[in-house]
Structures are given as structure tokens and as C-alpha cells.
Symmetry: C2
Subunit: 266 residues, 2 copies
């Protein structure tokens, strides 16, 4: 398995062999987290960045009345708190959705490397810019779309990003969230999540059961969610793979054989 950080950064641009070698050396140690445990908490001052290796996490803020707003989901390869490198204090928390492992990269190391390798600095910067693009689209999602479209859009986004790192097989992928968490991400109540989920299943767009999503109709789903993947800035990895659509575009046909690695959670 290739280095998750390198794979992550190569989504958005290429790296030289030299740079890859440097990136290989960044991680100092690994840490495990239980489900529902914070990787970092609002207000923390951190001395290292957390690179998610296995598992899933979510970025969230707590509101005064105890409600929670999830602002993004993090998947393997994501650097969860890269902004901590330049901003003194975290303004939100990140929590593991399932048991997860994280690689720690000390800020000091990152500081030195980005000084010495401007292209690595740029690659990391670019990664945070894509994060910002995801936030923007998330604003559109909760600000303007109906509940069903919001959910469809979220499934498209997560599916697309998981596909880009090889975590989609046979049009299905692990997405270990509860309906409660979906509600917190979409700004709708749990009850309504449930109803919308049923509606989308009835329309045979996709199914979501016990933390696993199976796409039946990618075209219909993107239409329902008004999903346009360009904001994710995912480039095809090699020239032969010009097809940027992550899922089988044919209607309701299941086809095996997507290149991807198994990923264990829970």
C-alpha cells in the first residue's frame, strides 16, 4: 500500500520522487482512537498534525444548546488539522466515527520541510484549499437544497472522495455514520433523515444500511443532489484513466472489479 499522505496529495497534483521520499519520513508515531473520541478538541493548541490512516472522522462544532453541526467527514489520507500548523488554536473539534488510527506529524518537522521544499508547501496549501472548496459546497447544501437533495449530495461527495483513494468496490463503500450524524451534517432532524432515506431508497438511487452505502443509480443520484464534482479538484491519476466518473454510469447494473483496497472498520 502506498503512503496515504502521498496518495492524498497526488490527487491534486504530481510530486517528484525526491519530494515523495521526504514525505515518507514525516510521520513520527501512530495513535489509535476509539469511536466517538475526539482526535482534537475545540480550543486545543496542538504541536502536530493528524493524518488519518484508517477509520473515519468528522469535523464539528458544538452549539450553546448542545446541538452539533458536522462540517465535513474525513476519510483515510486526509490531514485533519493541517490548519493547526498556522493558526494558534483550533476553532472546532474532530471526532472519530469508528475506531481509527492516526499518524502524527510534528509541526516542527512540517515547518522545516515546507521551508526547504516550496512545492511540498504548495501541495499542502492546495490540500487546505480543497478543504475550503468542500466547505463552500457544504454551505450551498445546507443553505439552499431540500433535505433529499442534501442527502443525495452528501452521498455523492463522500463516495467520490472515497473512490479517489480506492475505497469503493462494486459501487458500494463503507460510510460508518448513524442517521443522527447524518442529521447533524445536513442540518435536519434525525426523524427527517430517516424519511428521506426511505424516499431515496424507494427511488432506487442508493441504499444505506449499517454504515454501508450501495449506489444503484449514480446518474440519478447526482441529479437528485445537483452534484458536480469539479469542486473536489480530483484529477485522474494517470493518462489512461481519463474517466473521472467514479461509479458505473449504467443504470442499476452491478459490475465487480474496481481497483481498490479493502478497508476495515469496526
Amino acid at each position: 500500500m502506498t503512503n496515504p499522505l502521498i496518495r492524498h496529495l497526488e490527487q491534486f497534483g504530481s510530486l517528484t520522487e525526491d519530494e515523495k521520499q521526504v514525505l515518507e519520513s514525516l510521520v513520527v508515531r501512530f495513535v489509535s482512537f476509539r469511536a466517538d473520541q475526539d482526535l482534537v478538541s475545540d480550543g486545543d493548541v496542538v504541536a502536530e498534525c493528524r493524518l488519518l490512516i484508517t477509520g473515519f472522522a468528522c469535523r464539528y462544532k458544538l452549539l450553546p444548546d448542545g446541538r452539533r453541526q458536522i462540517m465535513s467527514f474525513q476519510i483515510p489520507g486526509d490531514i485533519c488539522d493541517l490548519q493547526g500548523l498556522l493558526l494558534n488554536k483550533l476553532d472546532h473539534s474532530i471526532s472519530a466515527l469508528v475506531p481509527s488510527t492516526v499518524a502524527l506529524i510534528p509541526h516542527q518537522v512540517l515547518q522545516e520541510v515546507t521551508d526547504a521544499y516550496p512545492d511540498i508547501a504548495r501541495a499542502l496549501w492546495r490540500s487546505t484549499l480543497v478543504d475550503a472548496a468542500v466547505f463552500r459546497e457544504w454551505i450551498v447544501n445546507v443553505g439552499n437544497r431540500q433535505a433529499a437533495a442534501r442527502l443525495a449530495h452528501l452521498v455523492c461527495e463522500v463516495g467520490m472522495r472515497l473512490k479517489a483513494v480506492g475505497l469503493v468496490q462494486d459501487d458500494s463503500f463503507v460510510f460508518p455514520v448513524t442517521q443522527i450524524q447524518l442529521g447533524e451534517a445536513l442540518g435536519i432532524s434525525t426523524v427527517h433523515v430517516n424519511r428521506v432515506l426511505q424516499e431515496l431508497r424507494r427511488q432506487e438511487l442508493f441504499e444505506f444500511r449499517s454504515g454501508k452505502v450501495t449506489i444503484y443509480d449514480w446518474d440519478g443520484l447526482t441529479k437528485a443532489g445537483e452534484f458536480d464534482p469539479s469542486y473536489l479538484q480530483i484529477m485522474s491519476r494517470n493518462d489512461t484513466d481519463a474517466n473521472v466518473t467514479p461509479f458505473d454510469r449504467s443504470q442499476k447494473r452491478i459490475r465487480p472489479g474496481w481497483h481498490s483496497e479493502a478497508h476495515e472498520v469496526r
Copy 2:
């Protein structure tokens, strides 16, 4: 008047004299825009960054049904499309709210400067990270708060940011948006914006008339909007100015004499 870019970047961290001098030399030319004209449009591939000098702008995306979601407001000093430096294509548009002037900074120049001055690169990176923090808070606003709280929060955010660049005087500031645009920013209908605006005025929190906001009760407003400014990462400029609260905290008392420069629009 100090260089807007320098003033902007110094909000988040200090710069050396050497770096300031370099920053002085970045702008190649100025461009004017009419109200409602796009500074950049969705899909554009740009070769320079746009630094807003005077006026106001908003970042937005158009939805298939013609609705519009505003994702942030840009004020003088903001670099509107810094992400264009590293991402090939803009994923949204930026439009002038009023006649505005913009300074253009070629990507090539920025490229060279950031290669030669890692600290400048970091300062710019930090600026985009603060943008991302604003997006995150915007998600919370639109996703979880009631209409009145959304509006209150937005007024707090814009007021705070304007204050940081000296565009607030006597507890009031120019904020040239229509109720239509407020609705597009907050994800609520124009009609409802109007009603909520009246409600907040009735509560004597603030007044909004013909593009100008006057704060009556900063404490009450922050409470109503659940506003906590820490996400904006605004640091006090000098040691004597340890007070980070931008407005007079006393209730409904008008006090002149905030240090600030006049700013002309329309």
C-alpha cells in the same frame, strides 16, 4: 493609508520590514468594477489574484434553479481569489456589491515571491485558512441557527471584520447589501429577512437601513447570534490595543472616536 494587503496579512501575524517592502511591489494594475459585475466567474481560469481595495463583494454559487447562495462577503483588503493561485479553475463566482476597485497581482509574481519568502507564503496560506474558518462558521450558521440568529451572527461577523481594518466608526459601518442578498447569504427568503430585520430592530440590537448598519447593543447582538469571534483569528494590532471587542460594550451608548479611516462607496 497603509497598504491594504499588508494591513490584511498583519491581522493574523507580523511581517518584517523586508517582507513588507516585497509586498508593496506586487500589484501591477488596478481595475474598477460596476455594482453586480463579476470580478471573476465560476469556471474561470485566472492568471492573477484580485485584491479588493475599495468597495464590497460577495462570493456565490448559482444553483440549477437560478437561486443563488452567497458564501461570504469580501471587504477591502481581502484577497478574493487567492485559491486560484493553486487550483486550476474557479468553482464559484465573486461579484461586486457596489462599484469597487481591485488590484491585480499576477500569479507569476506571487509564485516567485512565495518561493523566495517562505514567511510570505505562510502568511498568504494563513489568510486562506482564515477564509476556511469563516466558511465553517457559515455552515453552522445556515445549518443550525434560526433565521434571527443567522442574521445577528452575520452582522457580528461583518462588523468585526470591518472593525479590524478600520472601517467602523461610532458603532456603525457601511454594509451595502439588499435584503435579497441577505436572504441569499442566510438561506432564507427575502420576505423573511424583512420580518427578522424588523424583529431585531424592535429588540433594539441594531438597525440596518440603506446599506448601513448601526449597532445599538453589541452584547445583546452577539448573544442573539451566538457569536464568538475567535474563529476570525483577529489579533490586536499593537500591545496597547489589548481590547479585542470592536464595539462599545455598554448598552445603547453612542461614543465617538474609534480610530478609523473613512471609506467611500457609491
